[in-house]
């Protein structure tokens, strides 16, 4: 499989980023819900938040790279009726927007007092906006609402992918799993 996308298929980089972020973000949702109710004397009381912040920042960097990669690559042809294609393209764009806002609100919570975020103890990412005490509470509220909203959103996205796979019986889901191309090529060979 090649690294870059073609007009038909996703390349390895897009596939790996898609699934890596999907699994991480769902995990981050669970971690977030779990950590805020931990007991003060729980060994994970600080570690849980630290992990959430560290993974969140890595995801933010990954998202920036993903947007660059998307703009530098062809987008594989969307399958479906004209309006389904229109919905699909805007739902995809909505993912990027929601992820960006979700991650940035998280960043703004931790940096509300003008201090940077420690990322896995590797390095500290600085606070880019000036301190604004009280921001952590408003941003915390948005972060929670957006997290629940995004889970509903990816639920819809997953349902649509399954619809393509089981009802339309097209390769929308398979090509994101990277397991369709050989089959498709074989069919092409047969046609030849």
């Amino acid at each position: 499989m090649q690294l870059k996308n073609t007009s038909q298929y996703y390349g390895l980089v897009s596939i790996v980023i898609h699934w890596l972020m999907a699994i991480s973000i769902i995990g981050m949702f669970g971690l977030g819900i779990w950590m805020v109710d931990l007991d003060y004397y729980d060994p994970w009381y600080h570690r849980g938040l630290w992990l959430h912040q560290s993974i969140g920042m890595v995801l933010l960097f990954l998202l920036v790279f993903r947007l660059v990669w998307r703009l530098a690559n062809p987008v594989p042809k969307i399958m479906g009726l004209w309006w389904e294609k229109l919905v699909a393209i805007w739902v995809h764009r909505g993912h990027y927007l929601l992820m960006a806002v979700l991650m940035v609100t998280g960043y703004l919570i931790t940096t509300a007092y003008g201090r940077g975020i420690d990322i896995f103890g590797w390095f500290e990412f600085p606070a880019l906006l000036p301190a604004d005490k009280g921001r952590e509470t408003t941003m915390g509220f948005y972060h929670m609402i957006l997290a629940w909203g995004f889970m509903a959103y990816i639920g819809m996205h997953a349902a649509a992918a399954l619809k393509h796979h089981f009802i339309d019986k097209d390769i929308t889901l398979l090509r994101m799993l990277g397991i369709n191309q050989n089959k498709e090529k074989k069919e092409k060979h047969n046609e030849d």
């Binding site: 003060y40 004397y41 919570i109 931790t110 005490k133 009280g134």
Partner: protein, 193 residues
């Protein structure tokens, strides 16, 4: 002399007694010569010190009749500041001060008693998290006199100790036995009206 008499007469005519003017002070919020601070044990190993940055209040104090002194303070609970974003977010949540439901905390004095040697005892109703209870505050006179800019100022400081269990703070028991009590400290400088 004549002018003073005219001013005096005018004030009487307006129903303002000069002695009342002499007693009433507004806490200097603008110049931030006032602080409300709390101090609580962290695990029993050190102290955590935080503040409420936004509050306002007035007091009246007449040296001739100190027992008539009154104090009124309103604290914006969302202004809690322990110098740590995540902790302050937690302090504002329903686990602690529940600031959406209880945006203000108030103190209204009921009695003031001079103990001599610059000390006094202030009692009053303190409201926090929707709970109102009478508390006693140990007060010390700090100083008073004209300031260089044409006003008259008077300052007090005080401390009191609160048991967290009394104030409807759900997270309090989780802080551990060393952190059952919090010490409140304030220093107020009033500008005479």
């Amino acid at each position: 002399m004549k002018i003073k008499l005219i001013i005096g007469a005018a004030l009487v005519a307006l129903g303002i007694s000069t002695s009342a003017i002499a007693e009433d002070y507004v806490i200097d919020k603008k110049g931030q010569h006032a602080v409300i601070q709390f101090k609580i044990a962290h695990l029993g190993y050190s102290w955590l010190i935080g503040r409420f940055n936004d509050f306002e209040g007035t007091f009246s104090y007449d040296e001739k009749i100190p027992s008539a002194a009154k104090v009124n303070v309103t604290i914006n609970t969302a202004s809690v500041d322990s110098n740590h974003a995540a902790r302050d977010k937690h302090l504002r949540s329903p686990d602690f001060f529940n600031v959406d439901k209880f945006p203000t905390s108030t103190f209204v004095s009921k009695s003031f008693k001079e103990l001599g040697d610059g000390k006094a005892k202030l009692s009053g109703a303190f409201t926090l998290n929707g709970v109102t209870k009478d508390i006693n505050i140990d007060v010390t006179h700090v100083g008073h006199g004209p300031d260089p800019w044409g006003n008259y100022r008077r300052g007090f400081e005080g401390t009191t100790n609160l048991n967290l269990a009394d104030w409807n703070i759900p997270f309090a028991p989780k802080l551990g036995p060393a952190s059952a009590n919090v010490e409140l400290y304030f220093s107020f400088e009033g500008i005479r009206k």
